[in-house]
Symmetry: C2
């Protein structure tokens, strides 16, 4: 009856470590060991290693003979990520406007309403969460597995930097307004408007996140 989809320890460890690295718990260049992780998390090295292999593939860590070297996301990476997202989410929004179903529209609307709720309450963590949710929905609605797989990791990688941005009240308000504009265009099936609104949104978000030299 109740879908008790058990998540493997390896997956849990991956999610946790990825989140901890992306939110800045570990410093760039810091070295950790499988044994420490194993003891800290209370699981054997096997699932730890499977998680680390995936993190290594994402270039979030480097596995050396001295241990696990934390890489994370640098300021330079940030600019590249927003540059790429600007181009690809432009496409994703266009496709989403083309392919969205009534159910998709309802999901987007609900996610926006929740975002509005949290923006009014100045709940930065949940704002960030709903912001991610909205973008992920657009990726999914685009119907392109390739776009989804390409964009989701890029989006996740800016977490640490995005939190500060979202705590800025005026930016939180503006971001919500931009999401609404994107939503309206997708709901109306207006491909060009959706793409353009998304492009502007990514550019604005990037400008607020990237520290200018």
């Amino acid at each position: 009856m109740f879908e008790h989809k058990t998540i493997s320890l390896a997956d849990q460890v991956f999610e946790r470590l990825e989140s901890e690295i992306l939110t800045g718990k570990y410093n760039r260049g810091e070295i950790i060991t499988e044994l420490h992780l194993s003891e800290d998390l209370g699981v054997s090295r096997t699932p730890i290693r499977e998680a680390l292999r995936r993190l290594e593939q994402e270039h979030l860590v480097d596995i050396s003979t001295k241990g696990i070297v934390i890489i994370g996301v640098s300021e330079e990476d940030l600019e590249d990520i927003y540059m790429i997202r600007e181009r690809l989410e432009f496409i994703a929004a266009s496709l989403a406007a083309e392919k969205r179903t009534e159910k998709d529209i309802a999901e987007l609307r609900e996610s926006l309403e929740l975002q509005q709720y949290y923006v009014e309450r100045r709940d930065a963590d949940r704002i960030k969460f709903m912001d991610s949710k909205f973008h992920e929905l657009v990726y999914r609605i685009s119907g392109s597995t390739v776009l989804y797989d390409t964009l989701l990791p890029l989006h996740n990688k800016v977490q640490k930097f995005r939190k500060a941005s979202v705590q800025n009240e005026s930016r939180a308000d503006a971001s919500l307004a931009e999401h609404k504009r994107i939503f309206e265009a997708i709901a109306a099936g207006d491909k060009d408007a959706a793409a353009e609104a998304m492009k502007i949104h990514i550019i604005n978000a990037g400008n607020h996140v990237i520290k200018k030299g």
Copy 2:
């Protein structure tokens, strides 16, 4: 003296399986098991699993309770991949023209000379290899880890389809000419010309690989 960099079994298994999946050894939907792989390759399940986890992350396989389900790359994925590459390699070429050193130029030139050599000898496998090498060099020279990590998997995923394309002699000649144009622009440090030449190249390559409905 001799750098005998030992490659772990897990990495070897990953490379091999990835290549076999992308070149079409397994059919979409086919199910294999860890035990079979373990026996076939003569290694224990541990490195097999670590390889499979990475393949799963790339959406090349799906690990279910029935076994490992082969996903691979579909025809629909192809169009998305070339659409994305068109946009991102445009940027990569531009950055490469901006940042290339003399050493980079020499490497690109050498890779082109080899490609020419193999094109003249109609050696499809090696043409494909040198074609990949050229693009990978551009990714690297762009100086963006993010672009590199994003583009390399996308490029690799079209392997199976690219081989047929490269066996077409007129396309092989055209592709070489396009590479030369990209090279000249990068060597000259002409960002816009490099970007434009790359864009045209990707579009042409895509048109030859994608079967029209």
